[in-house]
């Protein structure tokens, strides 16, 4: 493998010497990963505070003067967009993708380190532009995270003059950042795998991130053009999405545009986006379960094919977000079928996680607790997706709190539980320190139980018919008093969960300095990142010689082996060959 030989020469990688080149303008994938992750977590905390303020209004209407209807809709919008794009996407791909891809496939770095560095700085710029929108006249946009025109750019929606412009510009910059990072991840996976690391020997974490990145590279352009077109509609008066309509009592200058065109473009991005978040989480959780159950992932090859199938299918289900949008009703037949088909590979993944636990040797470590918590919430959120995906069942539930409960369970809580599990899993490698196991477990229990208390009741409020995105429910005959009591309960649970996250921050920050020194491979894991000569890995990752891979990533508890794991770097023909599917004992 020629490319490996070149990359193996150590002098190719000059270790940076100054503070600035090491930590600020760094081209080291590990530093960039930490920059991405810290920024994403910081901006995620902003979004967490925003959700707390929304819940205050819903639980205790009018108790807080500063939460006016405009402010409420601004909080809703910014919370959603930050969480989906600037936290989840950035943390899973920019953070974990950056850190883990080179280490897990045995590369010294990403193939384009300079581009990788630019990717982070563009991401940071997009975050700053987004944050600036809180401070412009009129404030940030309150159009809802879906930014549907015409209302997103018309008076009557908060932030219709400046807030929406900054939002669209920020998204544009984010997509540029993502593209630079994404091209890097894909190329690195395809070109820089070390000797012996065939595609079918890659850990599922890498598979999840790899396929998610391809989805992102294909899906984000749809968001990019729709943002650009809306920007033109707003600033130059074009009419891509704007029909003739009344605004402020006067006929607008627009004519002939289609609001539904925007929705198609948005969801052509928006649905794959669900899997851009979900697939890395699927991959990571597979590795967490396997490692901490000391058992090979069950049905590895099926898992890879399921990831690929989900990736492909995710591009032909988008209009299930639009069953009541006014698009031609016959579309409903097609999109309901594709949407429910995607449930099959998704269910296979769930079965295989569960079957990995079966006959395992389950260590209930903090990462494992989060992984099991994920299975529970993901099963719950996935099953409620069968309501909303099946077109006619969606009719009464669309635009109600059922939808809010569903997507928070499936793409809010579930990936976040995986993220926490992943941080607890790789923290010893990243920092060289252990964290407090006790605090980590408290963090898990309170977060897991707290979030379930938030989102389970929301489904029932939705079945009752309570609309989402309402500043207040006012008096409505079919809504009983008890629904408001439930809203109070949900608010208390939400504030509780928000405060609990302090345990996580305190644990990490304290352990950074005071944690006990970590063993290089504290979990007894097989994958390459745990086999580095230094912990944390130094610049270039592997010292003088790149690792060579002899086996798949899941040789746990191989019969006859001395220890209950065989790292990928250990030669030998015993175990399973994931390239051919044959097993030798």
């Amino acid at each position: 493998m020629e490319q490996v030989a070149i990359a193996d020469e150590v002098h190719e990688h000059h270790e940076p010497t100054s503070f600035i080149s090491r930590y600020i303008w760094s081209q080291d994938h590990k530093v960039i990963a930490i920059q991405y992750a810290s920024t994403a977590i910081a901006v995620g905390l902003v979004a967490l505070v925003l959700s707390g303020m929304m819940r205050l209004q819903l639980g205790f209407p009018h108790a807080f003067d500063f939460i006016s209807p405009s402010a409420y809709y601004q909080f809703v919008t910014m919370h959603g967009m930050i969480m989906v794009i600037y936290l989840l996407t950035a943390l899973l791909l920019g953070g974990f993708g950056n850190y883990l891809i080179p280490l897990m496939i045995g590369a010294r770095d990403m193939v384009f380190p300079y581009l990788n560095m630019l990717s982070y700085w563009f991401y940071l710029a997009s975050v700053l532009v987004l944050m600036a929108s809180f401070f412009v006249p009129g404030g940030s946009t309150g159009a809802g995270w879906t930014l549907y025109p015409p209302q997103a750019i018309l008076p009557g929606t908060p932030g219709a003059d400046w807030g929406i412009i900054l939002m669209l510009v920020s998204l544009g910059i984010f997509i540029v950042a993502f593209t630079m990072g994404g091209l890097n991840y894909v190329t690195t996976v395809l070109q820089a795998r070390t000797k012996g690391m065939t595609l079918m020997r890659m850990p599922l974490t890498v598979w999840g991130i790899f396929v998610a990145t391809i989805l992102g590279l294909l899906a984000f352009p749809a968001l990019f053009v729709s943002a650009l077109m809306m920007l033109l509609d707003h600033t130059l008066g074009t009419s891509f999405f704007m029909p003739a309509l009344l605004s402020q009592g006067e006929l607008s200058d627009h004519e002939g545009g289609s609001p539904i065109l925007f929705q198609h473009l948005f969801w052509f991005f928006g649905h794959p986006e669900v899997y851009i978040v979900a697939l890395p989480a699927f991959g990571i959780v597979s590795d967490l379960i396997s490692t901490h159950a000391r058992k090979n992932i069950f049905g590895y090859r099926m898992m890879v094919w399921a990831i690929l199938a989900i990736g492909v299918l995710s591009f032909i289900v988008w209009a299930h977000h639009m069953y009541v949008s006014g698009m031609h009703p016959y579309f409903g037949f097609f999109f309901a079928v594709t949407t429910l088909i995607i449930a099959v590979p998704t269910a296979i993944k769930v079965y295989n996680w569960v079957l990995t636990l079966w006959r395992g040797n389950i260590h209930l470590t903090v990462p494992m607790l989060f992984a099991i918590g994920f299975i529970f919430t993901f099963v719950n959120g996935g099953l409620t997706g069968l309501f909303l995906g099946n077109v006619v069942v969606d009719l009464p539930l669309s635009d109600t709190y059922f939808v809010v409960g569903h997507f928070h369970m499936v793409m809010g809580v579930s990936p976040v539980l995986v993220l926490f599990g992943a941080i607890y899993h790789w923290f010893p490698k990243i920092t060289g320190r252990m964290y407090s196991e006790t605090l980590g477990k408290w963090h898990f229990w309170l977060t897991f139980l707290g979030t379930y208390a938030i989102y389970l009741p929301m489904h029932y409020l939705g079945i009752l018919g309570i609309p989402r995105r309402y500043y207040a429910n006012l008096s409505t005959d079919f809504i009983p008093e008890s629904a408001q009591d439930m809203n109070v309960g949900i608010t208390i649970a939400a504030l509780f969960v928000a405060v609990v996250q302090l345990l996580f921050l305190i644990n990490l920050l304290w352990s950074l300095r005071h944690g006990k020194k970590a063993d290089p491979n504290p979990w007894g894991a097989t994958t390459l990142e745990w086999q580095t000569p230094d912990t944390p890995p130094r610049h270039g990752n592997w010292g003088h010689h790149l690792p060579v891979v002899y086996r798949w990533a899941y040789d746990y508890s191989v019969p006859g082996a001395e220890r209950d794991f065989i790292p990928q770097t250990v030669p030998g023909s015993e175990g399973h060959d994931s390239d051919t599917g044959e097993t030798k004992a």
């Binding site: 209807p69 015409p150 929606t157 009703p329 037949f333």
Partner: protein, 453 residues
């Protein structure tokens, strides 16, 4: 181990919550029982999977949790098991999908004999139109939107002349008659939803969307907007009343046709001068208002707003509350006007009077800078210069009496004005005024309005 017990407890708690939760579908009032059936089927299938998978996980954790000396099994694949699970899942999915698509097939096929009704959404209210005796809805186009033609009907289209317009809070529909709803929006996306009917559809400017249902139960039902449409989204309310067909016909016969509304609109302002004599005694010859009589300035208000308020006073939607003594006086005076034509002409006359700013009120103690922040919520309807926006039914605020406006805000907040069920705009003001925390906030926003030209 704890996690296994907690999973079992959560499964039990979820099932119990499902069984005992007081929150479930509202009793259905349309023909779409089949939709409820598909939901029930989905609940059973997904409920079974939820319980089975999670209990299996719990059992696996209990049985295979780490014990000293234990070792996991080594089983990379099991093609037979994987095949079975895939097949079973596929069968389960088909069992959900087939009935779903069957019912959707019913939903997309509108019955031949369905009655048409048009629903028009706008920020933040509803209006309706029936096709009239000819059974055909006349053409409409955004360029015809105007105060006298709020639905934008084409005046030249003969088919539209007999269309019956329902401008207000309530739509009535006949029991057991299939209805095809043709939905249209004047400005942004909206969604016409009645939870008891189960079906809903977005309304999109630039196109007409549709859906159908048959009301099966008499009664009154809330109409909610279910597509985010700006900051008044949550106050965009209406009411559908289902009545026996004969009652429906009687109700409809009473409503004006498009041609009728155009005739009323053509009333000359001059004809209103006679009627205005009574008004002028309190409101002043030029409508400038008289604080001593507690009569606010009315010159500068839009004629449709004036006509609606006079009608509200006459029909008890305003000025009926004993805590609103001046409103009660006005209700008595409004009844002096003989008919709709008189209301239309006197409103047109008042609207023709020159607008002048009210005098500054030295008793105002508000802080206009703080008020500016609050006013952002008002501006979406009343305009950023307080000029009023006809389409929103929102009157001019700039230059009007500060003291009067402050009193009205308090009345809205305290439910003295705007709580009548047919006063759609009043209800919105009640909701909006409730965000004003105390009298200081009212003083602040009035002080800001006083700075607007």
């Amino acid at each position: 181990m704890a996690i296994a017990l907690v999973l079992i407890a959560l499964v039990i708690a979820t099932v119990l919550f499902h069984i005992f939760s007081p929150w479930w579908f509202t009793p259905i009032a349309s023909n779409w029982d089949m939709i409820d059936g598909t939901v029930d089927l989905t609940v059973w299938v997904t409920g079974f999977v939820f319980v089975a998978v999670n209990l299996f996980v719990a059992y696996a954790v209990i049985r295979f949790r780490h014990k000293a000396g234990a070792r996991a099994a080594y089983e990379p694949e099991n093609k037979k098991l994987e095949g079975w699970l895939t097949a079973l899942t596929t069968v389960g999915i088909m069992a959900l999908l087939a009935p779903g698509l069957f019912v959707w097939g019913k939903f997309v096929a509108v019955p031949e004999d369905a009655m048409d009704v048009e629903v028009v959404g706008q920020q933040w209210g509803w209006s309706y139109r029936f096709p009239g005796p000819d059974g055909v809805l006349g053409a409409s186009d955004p360029r015809f939107f105007a105060g006298d033609n709020p639905l934008g009907l084409d005046p030249a289209d003969a088919a539209g002349q007999d269309d019956i317009l329902i401008n207000g809070a309530e739509l009535r529909l006949p029991l057991d008659v299939p209805v095809r709803v043709l939905a249209r929006s004047k400005d942004v996306l909206h969604n016409f939803a009645v939870p008891q009917f189960r079906v809903k559809m977005d309304m999109v400017p630039g196109m007409v969307t549709h859906f159908w249902f048959t009301p099966t139960r008499t009664g009154e039902f809330d109409v909610l907007c279910m597509e985010l449409c700006g900051i008044g989204h949550y106050v965009m309310r209406g009411r559908v009343t289902i009545v026996p067909e004969t009652d429906f016909q009687a109700w409809l016969a009473d409503k004006p046709s498009f041609a009728d509304t155009q005739a009323v609109a053509a009333r000359e302002a001059a004809a209103g001068e006679v009627h205005y004599a009574t008004c002028g005694a309190c409101h002043g010859a030029m409508g400038e208002g008289n604080p001593l009589m507690n009569a606010p300035r009315i010159a500068g208000l839009d004629k449709h707003y004036l006509a609606r308020q006079i009608d509200n006073f006459r029909t008890g939607k305003r000025g009926a509350n004993p805590d609103d003594s001046f409103g009660q006086q006005m209700a008595a005076m409004a009844n002096v006007l003989p008919d709709e034509a008189a209301i239309a002409s006197v409103s047109a006359y008042i609207a023709s009077l020159p607008h002048q700013r009210a005098d500054a009120d030295p008793s105002l103690a508000g802080d206009p800078r703080r008020g500016a922040g609050i006013y952002q919520n008002c501006a979406v309807c009343h305009g950023d210069q307080g000029q009023g926006i006809w389409n929103m039914g929102a009157p001019r605020l700039a230059g009007m009496d500060p003291g009067y406006m402050a009193t009205q805000l308090k009345h809205f907040r305290e439910g003295i004005r705007g709580t009548h069920r047919d006063d759609q705009h009043g209800q919105q003001m009640v909701a909006m005024a409730s965000i004003l925390g105390g009298d200081q906030a009212i003083d602040d926003v009035i002080a800001y309005i006083a700075t607007l030209q």
